[in-house]
Amino acid sequence: MFKIMQPAAVLAALSVCAQAASAAPNVPDPASVEAPRIAGVTSAADEVDFDKYFYFHRAETTFDQALADIRECDGYARGLASPYGYQETPYPYAGTMAGAVGGAIGNLLVAAIFGSAELRKARRSNMRRCMNYKGYDRYGLNKDVWQGFNFEEGLSSVKEDERQRKLAIQAKVASLIQPDGKVLGR
């Protein structure tokens, strides 16, 4: 069954995307970023949902690098035409951008057809693929703990300040907190 997205919802979502189009956010002091407890919080019963609830970690990685990587993958996952962290390319993209909203528009239109669940699933897959290419391992996590510093994104977008707060926590986990449990596949 196709779901039709209301025009108002599209406009509201694009408005959030437009807010995201401002300059790349600052890098916070990692000491000021919340450190969630991930050791000993996940049980065997959680394993069935490890394809949804997980975190990334890479040894010998600084907080700044992890945050740059996570922001870049987040940008890809939400279809920004110019994700934070993009590097110079041999092609003249700089003056030819669609605006940072970019592919988020197509993304929303697809969600209007296929529904929010498909968009949430696509985001998870994009993050897993992108972070895997960057050399990060993936570990499973209890859902309640995961919800404390992660978000899903379907038809409704996460406010930019909340997004950046959670991405910073994810970066701290990815770089400075000892992982717990076994490494999952990508």
């Binding site: 694009l14 408005s15 437009a18 807010q19 189009a21 401002s22 300059a23 890809y76 996952a77 939400r78 279809g79 920004l80 035409a81 110019s82 994700p83 993009y86 590097q87 390319t89 041999p90 092609y91 003249p92 993209y93 003056g95 030819t96 951008m97 669609a98 605006g99 940072a100 909203v101 970019g102 592919g103 988020a104 528009i105 197509g106 993304n107 929303l108 239109l109 697809v110 209007a112 057809i113 296929f114 699933k121 696509a122 897959s125 994009n126 897993r128 693929r129 992108c130 895997n132 290419y133 960057k134 050399g135 596949g185 990508r186």
Partner: protein
């Protein structure tokens, strides 16, 4: 004469030129206009293969001008809507019984937030699944299309709807580029796509045994390219100059359509990766 030709190519195709750029149909005899450039590629599955032409400097300059004009218009529109919002907000603040709540303050448009299709999107071309030039007994389709001469980037496999919606995947995190020259048919090779093993892990049950480990680990991605040279050329093209594409590593490329993001599978002697670094093995350049 050559200078004039180069200037014409750099300026990009006119509306009249665009009419000439189309797939070559599967007919018993083929008549090509070799003043133009052609791209030939094959695909074992009926899926779209998306490429875009890299914009030239004159095209970029023209685009920037159009963009600046669009921004001026958007700003004028915003000034009106913001003034109206401010008036309503002031009334509501004075006495909430006199006006409705003002709602969110309209966001001032900037060059960064202005929504306008980028040049790469304008220059996107699709090969397949329709309009094939040939199909062999194994089911592999050959596509041949007249294109504007220039540098092309293999972008992904994307269905683009009339309303701007799109789905599929891009090889945004690593791909190849090549030049298509006038007077030549540039043979890109064979492009093979796979279903994403992360989103659809059950696809591994149906994958070729030799592919399973690579699909699971990500060493084999959703798109593979076998360069030209291993497959013969259609005899109908024997009178024309067919050259294998000189492939170079390219990317990263923006995810213009908000689709699944992947990268092209590494190609021996052409493309490899060091984590997410894209390495051009033809020049040792790192992107």
């Amino acid at each position: 004469m050559m200078l004039l030709l180069a200037m014409a190519l750099a300026a990009g195709p006119s509306k009249e030129d665009l009419k000439l750029l189309r797939p070559v149909k599967d007919t018993p005899a083929v008549q090509l206009d070799m003043t133009g450039a052609y791209i030939l590629l094959r695909s074992p599955a009926p899926v779209p293969i998306s490429l875009f032409r890299v914009a030239t400097q004159p095209e970029v300059d023209e685009y920037r001008e159009k963009r600046a004009q669009a921004l001026v218009k958007a700003h004028q529109k915003w000034e009106k809507s913001h003034a109206s919002w401010a008036k309503g907000a002031a009334l509501w603040k004075k006495d909430p019984n006199l006006a409705l709540p003002p709602g969110d303050e309209p966001i001032e448009p900037t060059d960064e937030s202005l929504t306008m299709a980028p040049l790469d999107q304008e220059n996107l071309i699709g090969f397949g699944p329709l309009n094939r030039f040939a199909k062999d007994s194994s089911g592999t389709s050959t596509y041949l299309q007249r294109v504007w001469p220039g540098r092309y980037v293999l972008y992904g496999s994307i269905f683009v709807g009339n309303n701007g919606s799109a789905f599929g995947s891009c090889v945004c995190m690593g791909t190849v580029a090549f030049d298509a020259k006038a007077g030549e048919i540039t043979d890109v090779g064979t492009v093979q796509t796979s279903i994403d093993a992360i989103t659809f892990p059950r696809m591994l049950d149906k994958a070729k045994p030799e592919d399973v480990d690579g699909l699971r680990s990500g060493a084999i991605t959703m798109m593979r390219l076998t360069p030209a040279g291993t497959v013969g050329i259609d005899p109908r093209l024997s009178a024309y100059k067919v050259v294998p594409a000189t492939l170079k590593a390219a990317g990263p490329v923006p995810n213009y359509y908000g689709v699944q993001v992947d990268r092209l599978t590494a190609i021996p002697n052409i493309l490899k990766y060091d984590r997410d670094k894209i390495i051009d093995l033809t020049s040792a350049a790192v992107h």
